[in-house]
Symmetry: D2
Subunit: 307 residues, 4 copies
């Protein structure tokens, strides 16, 4: 299949490589051209513009946020204006439910197909072609692109015929991870102020009831108090909770735990946490308890972003 | 070793049986004698009173709550008055940190030894001798009873020389489980109101990031909306969150997620949830969202317990 | 002064009338012309379009929400395109901080002046010319319009030279009122389940520590459980809390009480509360406690707005 | 009437003085005798023991907390053992609902009468005889002591025939005050980070919608950031919220705002806030927002009270 790929970040680069390995004909586009070089070595061609990369059977976009996606989709040089009727746009970015709905409408009006297909998995999983794909869209559209999903992932979950529903599922997954971070943060604050070593405590948890990688991964970060360099930066975590709450507001679903997470992220960012891993919210409970050295004591309070 | 065992509930019965299988000399005591019969068949003797069962090298108590433990420990016929100097009391019940501290002091004053050793694992795990034991106490005391731990569990974690610390760790574990329930409840309320099937959603979660038995177990209960019969009843869950918050208050550790759980349990109990499994708090988010049939609609509101 | 007035709702009608009484030359515009008749009797002229009403020394807009304001401000027929250089736009609507910032920029680019001047007071206060005006803008601009403020209000508070700051203060005021509602709702749920009559309780509060009209007004609504007809409808309350949280997010200020209020409003709206007064969130605590007849029991759950 | 008065703190001293001014025959008892001198000058006699002061028609106790009340009530030398059958004990202390219930039962068993009568008002109000009295008890009992209430207060509210209900009302009042503090703290954090002067903001609030002394009093403390010396110390505030939550738990009433206040007080106490006024929780929102100088930066974290 002739595939155009937009967005060669940590995730996109691995995904595009696996499409090439599955012998698809892949053209890549990225704002910074250097990132395309490794893929060219694997057989990719490079496109000089969004318009050019959009002339394909399927375009896949894998970008950081709503603004980045809107920037490549709209306008005369954008995906919608240049994708052929009947061709498919797969949006794999973690974006808002509202934007996904807008994209579906725009492609529909242009006689094109649209599939939302965010993924679960970190960059190493993307590189290994072992992602989990959460897909939603018209069954015919998904049938067309299933071979691509098979190239980049180990399993595809089709959750709805309405694309935005896949985005909702993806956001809810990040909410659940952040909930694990918060719960571990509170539990560790409690037991460590009570005299228990945090690493031993984590060993107990992950040896018994919580033997999932996610508890191991985030528990270690919190026990170590080591939040740099960021695997997934705090502002991205804050964005995903914001999008979760926005989707929940549209659906009129109160989510008190998500509200708590929102406040945690704002506290973190208000104290200069922008460069930290999102798991740094897991240290706020200990700080409230006066049970840890505040990492921000040595820093100046962050300037307000609007002053 | 000559062991006295108090409390032959679902957990205690399995633990006592494994002590017998390891060839310890076990006398058992239970308020309802019938429960002792199966153990007698395995070689146990029965004691007619607490005082009698306490005349042993080691007494193990495994009871439902603080009140039950206080009832067997104090008074002329209680454990403290009848245990020999130098003998050990192992408290495996999930009790308050404050009561554990009182027990440690009482045994110390009587020249006896005290080890707190709550366990992780459900009745089937206890029957299989595969419990995880969270132990705290003086190293000498723990050394004496380690053979007993080896008989009932697969691994012992020694967390402190101060007994009450083991109780704190146990309570924190139940807090973490309740947090999983709440987070699943919110996520399921959100995606199901958004049009996703709850069972498919749970399959996605447990196939990907949350492949731990705890997510499978509790997620299924919430997706099914089936909370009876109770595996662990709501009032016990409410009690454990109350004890967690009480311990946190003494240590001055604010726990906003535990506070949320507290309010969830009270809402559940206020609507007649006493006989439900504690995972029923996982349906409250959906109810707040108007996204599920309220299970309590057909019931009268529960009468206030004090009026 | 030659004044154009846009928005003759309950608030705007009273404000425009008082400008006429102070002998200003007022042209009015409203989507539904009938509302202008009473003002014409007081000496107003009617404008056939936004463009026409904008040809004045000062334009005042008093509309329901961001969307309404954006609809009259932009486009070729809008306020910005038709207001003369050096003329002033006073925005008295309760709008988002972000929109206020956009308006300020648009007017600045067009060589016009902009003052944000939301007000405190209900329709009867507006009719009596006794509003409190929260104003922000360049001192020169405010000096120009001060005579108009004197005509509609009893006092003007100038809080900043940056217009959007006045909108922030207005939103924070509505947050504080909603906080009073929530706190009264919780206190009444508690004491009424404990056996105290809610009206007697309110009499105690307002006779002692809480002798402010706001406690009397909202406490009576909650004690009566009478939320229709709405003085200020729940969706407007929900909007204001949403805008408060949005402003707080931009400033990185976590507001846990505002988060709680957000969840309360969503619960209310999820159960068909759109037509109720916003004080109906004050009955949710009693419902969670099983201490009141649920008003929504007889209703079908509200359909999700997006399905 | 022959009155015995126990507890000559800031509140009790004023109350006892007003009983003397109303020509009652008052014997006083206090742990520190010096406090009785001023009252002796007004005509009081001093009692050498609780037993002695309890030999009266009516005994009034006005003490700091549950423990102090239990210490004077029980035992052979306590109030219950020494009060005559048919005589009345008025408990004016802010105590738990549970203790009030126990006191009622103990007096009932001893053939004595019991009235709970906590008060609203600060020491200056007590000195002026202008307290508000929240009374509950059997109508006959209250009729007996009404002349005493008239001597110390400006108005008596009789809320129930069950004494503990008066304690519930009193606790709920302190919860409402703490709610005002929290809401002001959040609003001030928001607007001050947005550029508004806190004192001007408070002036706006108290000139408009929130013209109650309680907003003026607590708003000034928060705007000044001046929490020492404490008018009502943080540990007392924390205690009252704890007792409110305990009463709510018994009645199964979830109170999310009270839960938030609980966490705020624990955060304050965890950072050395024991000597501060309880309104210091009103600065925590600004601290979370990085918008104020942390008062505790210069202090060592408070040691855990149990380690």
């Amino acid at each position: 299949m002739k595939v155009g790929f937009i967005g060669l970040g940590h995730m996109g680069a691995g995904m595009a490589a696996n499409l090439l390995r599955a012998n698809h004909d892949v053209a890549v586009y990225n704002r910074t051209r250097a990132k395309a070089d490794a893929l060219v070595a694997l057989g990719a061609t490079t496109a000089a513009s969004i318009a050019e990369v959009a002339r394909a059977d399927v375009v896949i976009s894998m970008l950081a946020n709503d603004a980045s996606v809107e920037a490549v989709v709209g306008g005369e040089q954008g995906v919608v204006s240049n994708l052929a009727p009947g061709a498919v746009h797969i949006s794999s970015s973690t974006i808002s439910v509202a934007l996904s709905e807008k994209l579906a409408a725009a492609h529909h009006d242009a006689g094109q197909l649209f599939v939302a297909a965010p993924v679960f998995g970190r960059p190493d999983v993307a590189a290994a072609g072992k992602l989990f794909i959460i897909a939603a869209g018209a069954p015919d559209s998904i049938a067309i692109v299933q071979p691509l999903f098979d190239a980049i992932g180990q399993r595809t979950f089709i959750v709805s015929e309405t694309p935005k529903v896949a985005n909702l599922v993806k956001l809810s997954g990040n909410f659940l991870i952040a909930s694990v971070i918060e719960s571990l943060g509170e539990a560790m604050a409690l037991v460590s102020k009570g005299g228990v070593d945090r690493h031993q405590y984590l060993d107990i948890l992950t040896s018994t009831l919580f033997n999932a990688p996610i508890y191991k991964t985030y528990g270690t970060l919190i026990a170590d108090g080591k939040f740099e360099p960021a695997g997934f930066a705090a502002p991205l975590g804050q964005k995903d909770i914001r999008l979760t709450l926005a989707a929940a507001e549209d659906l009129r679903v109160p989510l008190p735990l998500a509200s708590l997470l929102r406040d945690r992220f704002l506290t973190l960012l208000a104290h200069g946490g922008d460069t930290l891993d999102w798991s740094a919210i897991g240290q706020l409970a200990a700080m409230d308890a006066g049970a840890t050295e505040e990492w921000y004591r040595s820093k100046e309070p962050a300037p307000s972003p609007t002053h």
